[in-house]
């Protein structure tokens, strides 16, 4: 699965499992948060990513 910002581009090139990221310059982070909050943000993102790997893709 792919964590990215430009979902339409991901879909166009055939990425079938894609979800929104924290941004172009920090896909799995957010520099505006405190380090603790940023790590929570990342954990949430990764858990959602793993959930997507568990789901079938509807064609």
């Amino acid at each position: 699965m792919q964590i990215c910002t430009m979902i339409p581009v991901a879909k166009e090139v055939g990425s079938l499992r894609a979800m929104g990221s924290g941004g172009i310059v920090s896909p799995t982070g957010n520099p505006e948060l405190t380090p603790e909050k940023e790590k929570e943000f990342r954990r949430d993102l990764v858990l959602r990513a793993l959930q997507i790997l568990k789901e079938d893709v509807r064609e």
């Binding site: 699965m1 792919q2 964590i3 910002t5 990221s21 172009i24 896909p27 990764v46 893709v57």
Partner: protein, 350 residues
């Protein structure tokens, strides 16, 4: 045409002379009259038209807030009452190309004006928008600025004046997949035989029907049980070991890195580096977990949420990657991971 064509020009923050990657998150804005390549645009337009305004937006801002950015740009554009929007050329810059396509489609649909974008045919924006928007194939290099602008202007004037357009290869735009009836000098049977004879003689010939390019991708089966899954981390954001010993190119990559992370709980910024010419790498360099979530994955492995984190991270750079190279890199990484028993991948993209 007696009335001058009112032209609005869309540029990214770089070409609008606002700033480089450090300004890639600026919100939409405008300047009256032409700016940067807009000056050349004005010279090409001569008496036919006037560049009344330059609209711009940061590449990252547009990518991250596409809808808001588009709405705001359309609102600003409407005030100038343009007849024609010229967007770019964006050459091979993917974020910029996608923004050009989106703003052109929006302006056509919402403001009812003609638009012409410019970008390389391999730009992600070309694939996404070529069916809806006239996109002049600018080539991938900024040295082609003037010829690209000339073709954009020629096409734009024809659109505004309602003049008939030539075939895509004559006008220089990327085919939109539209078929039009035309008179041919010879009937189909003769044309087909001519083509066959040319093929047998080894001479060049051109099919009248473009072969469709299907790239159907079969989805991988879902992972039923994460607690036995082997997950690998991959990124196109340019992660390398400090000093870049594998010599991964910051742009136009032809290779990928293999970074051993077995037994490592966190990516120490001193031991890793981010090499990528397509985005501001400062934040990822400060904390590589913003690019590759190794810290969280290691914790989830220790907690038994996932079976195992794969022993290596693979990385390449997405900046201006040729499709051919990117495909080969992707396939090589996938083959390696499969043969190593990896069952799932998280790919992070900048």
């Amino acid at each position: 045409m007696t009335e001058k064509i009112r032209v609005v020009h869309y540029l990214n923050q770089f070409f609008a002379q606002v700033g480089g990657e450090e300004k890639a998150d600026i919100v939409p804005g405008f300047k009256e009259g032409p700016t940067g390549p807009g000056r050349a645009l004005q010279q090409i337009l001569v008496e036919h038209g006037e560049v009344v305004a330059t609209l711009f937006c940061g590449d990252n801002y547009f990518a991250e807030h596409s809808e808001q950015a588009k709405e705001e740009l359309l609102r600003q554009m409407a005030r100038f009452k343009p007849h024609l929007l010229i967007a770019g050329p964006a050459f091979e810059s993917g974020r910029y190309g996608v923004a050009c396509g989106a703003i052109c489609q929006g302006a056509q649909e919402r403001l009812g004006i003609h638009t012409v974008a410019g970008m390389d045919e391999e730009n992600a924006g070309a694939d996404l928008y070529c069916k809806h928007v006239y996109i002049i194939n600018s080539g991938d290099s900024v040295v082609r600025m003037l010829p690209a602008l000339r073709r954009m202007v020629t096409l734009g004037i024809k659109l505004v004046q309602g003049a008939p357009l030539g075939r895509p290869e004559e006008e220089g735009y990327i085919p939109r997949g539209i078929k039009r009836n035309a008179f041919a000098a010879k009937p189909p049977a003769e044309r087909a035989v001519d083509m066959l004879l040319a093929k047998i003689r080894g001479e060049p010939f051109k099919s009248e029907i473009a072969a469709p390019q299907f790239h159907h991708i079969k989805p991988a089966a879902a992972l039923r049980d994460l607690s036995s899954a082997v997950i690998a981390l991959v990124t196109d954001g340019g992660l390398v070991t400090e000093g870049n010993p594998e010599r991964m190119e910051p742009g136009r990559p032809t290779r990928f890195t293999t970074i051993p992370v077995e037994g490592i709980d966190r990516l120490d910024p001193k031991q890793f580096d981010v090499v990528h010419s397509g985005y501001d790498t400062a934040f990822a360099n400060q904390d590589p977990h913003r690019l590759v979530p190794l810290d969280i994955m290691r914790e989830l492995e220790q907690q038994g949420v996932i079976g195992k984190l794969h022993e290596s991270i693979h990385a390449t750079g997405g900046a201006h990657a040729a499709v051919e190279n990117a495909t080969r890199i992707g396939q090589s990484i996938a083959e390696r991971l499969k043969s190593a028993g990896v069952t799932g991948v998280i790919l992070t993209s900048t």
